[in-house]
């Protein structure tokens, strides 16, 4: 069947079993309608089941070996340092700006469509930074950094001298001057000359009402009204970099406490987002589209991961304030979608809503009263429906999109992976250390003293190490800087690790199986970039995940630990346990591939549906 328009509404992390429960309860009328008139199916996600990996397979029709995104985190074998796996910034020489380079390779479906003369509108697809040139419009999503080049670092400013910095946050000490005015600053980009932080000064004056304050600065607006317990509107700031250059950014401010008489002033400042009117690096294609969109739908968050889970985890935000921010993101994304659907004539339309993923990470504990996270964190009865509410929001979005469907339109609603519980962490480096595969330098013991970033490792006696969200790397001679594993031994060592780790029992949980499988690279990846993947990928059982310490190169004292963090749900487990969901308002024939439908089939489905030949390199098959 040929269509003039294909609309894909991406809903990150919607779990099929929750969809079923709520549809059956009559809570999701729009999803249920699609299930009834079209189709609803589970859709195989990628290995690993991570947002950037999964959406890259969606967009390219290739397994990760074909597009090169294997994990949020990659590592540099020359330094053993981790880095963000989605993109990098490179600078060819000192005279040109650094340039963002997408780590997603392969040819995305919108490029193939563009070459065939078919336009696309792509909003916030992960791993679309820097944005691809295309016929149509693209706003980049996950991967767009904040102004410091990271995924997003908030700043907590407090007059309380006892506060220490939490995870992923900058801390600023405030002082209330005798005139009740607080004089402080925002933290901007690093100064290129000396790496110091470039600042933007502001003053906080008492507002017209108690519990309110006015932020005065050279920003726009010059006076920003703040109210305790509320997020402010956008504040647009220009950071001067030396005499010659400047960088524009913008923040929203959450006033947490304000009582200057008693020296109680606390505020949380969002990461400095690129200003869509003048981003430090291009975030849209064509470049001016980001500004046009701002003019059409008001200013919006530009960083790739917006919702401030760290602010929640650090106790700076209440759960309600976090959900407030999540609602803002839903609203602005929905406004973008409607604005673009309203003028969308033909081709491929894609819009991703990823707030559903973040809320499930942070509120999964409400679905499981006995979750370890609930031990340290009080439960607010009014938030029991926080996760279900995300599905209801998603349902409303599907309903809005459905209004734009006509008889030449195919509507697809897709989640990239499901969701599950994260109750127990498995520290892979601790396990490798116990097995004698990872050695620490003298005087360093697993645990605190080993630090992170693999700092404590004695590479001359280490043959394997874990980094990222489930990957294990061999310390391979000729590839790693201080490799000791001879290339001809690599396969045997990989097989040995896979056998030893698969079926790993959790002694504190009655011998429950924590690791279902361990897949050597050759079993799961093929294609031109497969050699960039971890040598082994660990497939955890439901309820387990890689431990917090391993992901950034720590070596914990124990292999197993309870996950007591608010981040209590996750999906980076055996992908067979967390398939995504696919809805269509049209019946789809799902048996073409001889296996169940997978994310890899979506790009061929889109091409076939728009009458564009599917390139032979694509691995999936059209779902017709």
């Amino acid at each position: 069947m040929r269509f003039r328009k294909i609309l894909v509404v991406g809903l990150d992390g919607l779990e099929p079993s929750i969809l079923e429960r709520l549809m059956d309860a009559g809570e999701l009328p729009n999803f249920a309608h699609l299930r009834e008139v079209g189709c609803f199916t589970r859709v195989a996600t990628t290995t690993p089941a991570q947002t950037p990996v999964a959406w890259s397979t969606f967009s390219t029709g290739l397994n990760p070996g074909g597009h090169g995104i294997f994990d949020f985190i990659r590592r540099d074998p020359r330094t053993y340092l981790p880095d963000l796996g989605l993109n990098r910034h490179e600078q060819k020489n000192p005279f040109v700006p650094p340039r963002a380079v997408n780590s997603r390779r392969g040819e995305p479906v919108w490029s193939i469509l563009s070459a065939a003369g078919v336009p696309s509108t792509i909003l916030r697809c992960p791993c679309s930074y820097p944005p691809d040139p295309l016929r149509g419009r693209m706003l980049a999503g996950m991967g767009v950094p904040d102004i410091r080049g990271g995924l997003g670092t908030s700043t907590f400013a407090t007059a309380d001298s006892r506060v220490v910095p939490g995870e992923s946050e900058n801390l600023i000490r405030l002082r209330v001057d005798s005139d009740r005015v607080v004089r402080s600053h925002l933290i901007g980009p690093r100064n290129p000359r000396d790496r110091s932080d470039i600042r933007f000064e502001f003053e906080l004056h008492p507002g017209s009402q108690p519990d309110s304050a006015i932020l005065r600065s050279a920003a726009t607006p010059g006076e920003l009204n703040l109210r305790v317990g509320h997020w402010s509107p956008w504040l647009k700031v220009t950071f001067k970099i030396g005499l010659l250059q400047s960088a524009r950014g913008m923040v929203r401010v959450y006033l947490r406490r304000y009582n200057p008489e008693r020296d109680e002033v606390e505020l949380l400042v969002s990461p400095v987002n690129f200003d869509p009117a003048a981003p430090l690096f291009p975030i849209s294609s064509p470049g001016e589209y980001a500004r046009e969109l701002e003019n059409a739908v008001e200013t919006y968050f530009t960083t790739g991961m917006v919702e401030d889970h760290a602010g929640l985890s650090n106790g700076r935000l209440t759960e309600a304030a976090f959900l407030d921010q999540c609602a803002q993101v839903w609203d602005e994304r929905e406004a973008m979608m409607l604005h673009e659907l309203d003028r969308f004539e033909e081709g491929l339309f894609f819009c991703l809503f990823d707030t559903s993923d973040r809320v499930q990470h942070m509120f999964w504990r409400y679905l499981e009263p006995d979750h370890p996270a609930n031990r340290d964190h009080p439960v607010d009865p009014s938030l029991h429906s926080a996760v279900d509410d995300q599905y209801r929001r998603a349902d409303a979005v599907v309903g809005r999109a459905h209004e734009f469907v006509d008889d030449q339109t195919l509507l697809l609603v897709l989640s990239d992976h499901g969701f599950n519980s994260f109750r127990r962490g498995v520290d892979l480096n601790a396990w490798l250390h116990q097995q004698g595969l990872l050695a620490l330098r003298p005087d360093i013991k697993p645990g605190e003293s080993a630090g992170d970033l693999l700092q404590g490792v004695d590479w001359s006696r280490t043959s394997a190490y874990a980094l990222g969200l489930g990957g294990i790397y061999l310390n391979l001679k000729g590839r790693e800087a201080q490799g000791i594993v001879e290339p001809e031994e690599a396969d045997n060592l990989s097989a040995w690790i896979a056998r030893g780790l698969a079926g790993l029992p959790d002694p504190e949980q009655g011998g429950a199986i924590a690791v279902r499988r361990v897949s050597p690279r050759a079993e799961i990846y093929h294609g031109p970039f497969a050699m960039e993947s971890p040598d082994l990928v660990v497939q955890f059982n439901a309820g387990y995940r890689v431990g917090w310490s391993t992901s950034l190169g720590g070596i914990a004292a124990r292999v197993f630990e309870d996950n007591t963090k608010l981040w209590a749900g996750d999906h980076i487990i055996d992908p067979r346990l967390v398939p995504g969901a696919l809805f269509s308002h049209h019946p789809l024939y799902l048996g073409g591939s001889g296996r169940g439908p997978g994310l890899v089939d979506l790009a061929p489905t889109i091409l076939a549906g728009l009458g564009v030949p599917v390139p032979p390199a694509m691995e999936g098959s059209p779902l017709r």
């Binding site: 963000l84 000192p94 995924l151 000359r193 969200l469």
Partner: protein, 492 residues
């Protein structure tokens, strides 16, 4: 040895090039290196200024005082300069002595194409690129034409009133030239690369009155009022795309040979000389007539002049010129008198113009070939020199060679950046003759002792540059890794 790249922007004005914040690539380069205004030579004219820069020799030492120079002491002739007029040791010669190859594109005078160890592409003095050989070796022309089709070295007839045609022609020329530049940057093994973009000079001359609100002919509603600024944005974009092709071992110089300034009008120098009784005509023309076509009574003439952006004033000296009238013994006294009278010239209201008058031997280390007796900048170049007679006033608004909006300013601009360069920030007092020794110095070459300028790096006591802008986004290191991954969530 470092590679050396010069992107020459003929006529680029420091007040725009160094001040417009929208020129992001220029500003990044400024931030990575040093910059400032650059004192040009006298006269600040494309020929000889680019060759003065390349050789670090003043115009007198080159024996080239402008596009046209007297070839002997007759009244007849001015010869037009070509590439063979100047053979002094240039940077590319010094590079060739070390075995390095050079690419010269549009470096004036660049016709006939200069024989270099490498590639030379002719400048705007090339009569016709469809007929004349304008490259060395000649096969380069075929490669260029495969790349961009017909290759323009100038906009023919740029003194025109058809402004939108002019703008489009200049931009199209510039795009083609930058395409060629980028091609050879990537596909030729060069040590020295020197490009001169002439389009900016043409834009200034064609559109300065539309750009400059203080220009006497400025129309605030002109549809062309942004053409000058937009052209700088165009150049910034082209330069940004060019810089991307460089490796880390390159010294980069963006430079102009002179600046630009508004023209208040034309000063009819020969008309003035007639009025002063220093120039006698057998017949005053009925219409405006170029000097070469005037019927001059040489036996009654003691002074005449050539026009242009500045005036070259000649004395009719007995025993030197065929019908000389000034006694050689009286030469200096008489020249001083003429100089004083020129310096006292006024505008139409009688206010002094502030005219600058130079004696060649006082401003040049050597005075070779046939120099003017006096070099005159009317109103310090606020007024152009009009050579024709028949206006019959001294001050005019029209120009005898076609519409022109601006004159050259004494100061151009430079931006110089190199990895590990000790030079950073704004530098005061840099001179055009300092460029060649500075580039050779930063490039690791010997500086010929004949060069008249000094290396800016030699006099610098600034410390080495820190990390350049943007490295914060690219450099590795643990703190940056933490910055990058901060906020990922999954890693706790």
């Amino acid at each position: 040895m470092m590679k050396i790249l010069i992107l020459g922007l003929d006529c680029a004005a420091p007040e725009i090039l160094l001040e417009d914040e929208r020129l992001v690539n220029i500003r990044r380069l400024m931030s990575a290196g040093c910059y400032g205004s650059l004192e040009s030579v006298i006269p600040p004219i494309t020929v000889p200024a680019w060759m003065c820069m390349s050789t670090s020799q003043d115009p007198g030492s080159l024996g080239v005082y402008g596009f046209r120079n007297r070839t002997d002491h007759s009244y007849g002739g001015l010869g037009i300069v070509n590439s063979r007029s100047i053979q002094e040791l240039a940077i590319w010669d010094q590079v060739a002595r070390e075995g390095g190859k050079s690419v010269l594109i549009g470096v004036p005078p660049g016709y006939p194409p200069r024989k270099v160890n490498g590639i030379a592409v002719g400048c705007f003095l090339t009569p016709d690129t469809t007929k004349d050989s304008y490259t060395s070796p000649p096969t380069v022309a075929h490669e260029i034409e495969r790349l961009v089709g017909e290759y323009p070295v100038d906009v023919k007839g740029f003194r025109t009133d058809d402004k939108s045609w002019l703008r489009d022609q200049i931009v199209a020329m510039s795009r083609k030239q930058f395409t060629v530049v980028r091609h050879y940057l990537q596909n030729f093994d060069w040590s020295y690369f020197h490009f001169v973009e002439i389009g900016l000079d043409r834009i200034h001359h064609g559109f300065w009155s539309h750009h400059d609100p203080t220009h006497v002919q400025h129309d605030p509603n002109s549809p062309f009022k942004n053409v000058v600024r937009d052209y700088y944005l165009h150049l910034d974009d082209e330069i940004g795309r060019t810089l991307e092709l460089l490796s880390d071992d390159t010294v980069v110089l963006v430079v102009s040979d002179h600046g630009a300034r508004k023209l208040d009008g034309g000063f009819c120098v020969n008309e003035w000389l007639v009025q002063q009784g220093l120039l006698t005509l057998n017949r005053y023309p009925e219409q405006v007539t170029p000097f070469a076509k005037l019927d001059v009574d040489w036996s009654q003439t003691s002074v005449w002049s050539e026009g242009g952006y500045y005036a070259r004033v000649f004395l009719n000296v007995k025993g030197r010129e065929p019908q000389g009238v000034i006694e050689p013994a009286d030469y200096e006294r008489f020249r001083d008198e003429v100089k004083a009278r020129l310096e006292a010239t006024t505008d139409p209201e009688g206010c002094p113009l502030g005219t600058l008058v130079f004696k060649p031997e006082e401003i040049y280390r050597q005075v070779r070939n046939v120099a003017p007796d006096l070099i005159v900048h009317f109103g310090a170049l606020a007024w152009r020199s009009i050579g024709g007679v028949g206006y019959p006033t001294v001050h005019v608004q029209e120009n005898d060679t076609g519409p022109d909006d601006c004159n050259h300013a004494q100061h151009g601009a430079f931006i110089l950046a190199a990895p590990e360069s000790p030079l950073s920030g704004r530098i005061e007092g840099a001179r055009l003759l300092d460029i060649a020794p500075t580039l050779l110095d930063l490039g690791g070459y010997d500086i010929p002792t004949t060069m008249q300028g000094r290396s800016l790096a030699a006099s610098s006591n600034q410390s080495a540059l820190g990390p350049h802008f943007g490295r914060g986004f690219t450099a590795r290191g643990e703190a940056l890794v933490r910055d990058r991954l901060s906020g990922l969530g999954y890693i706790g």
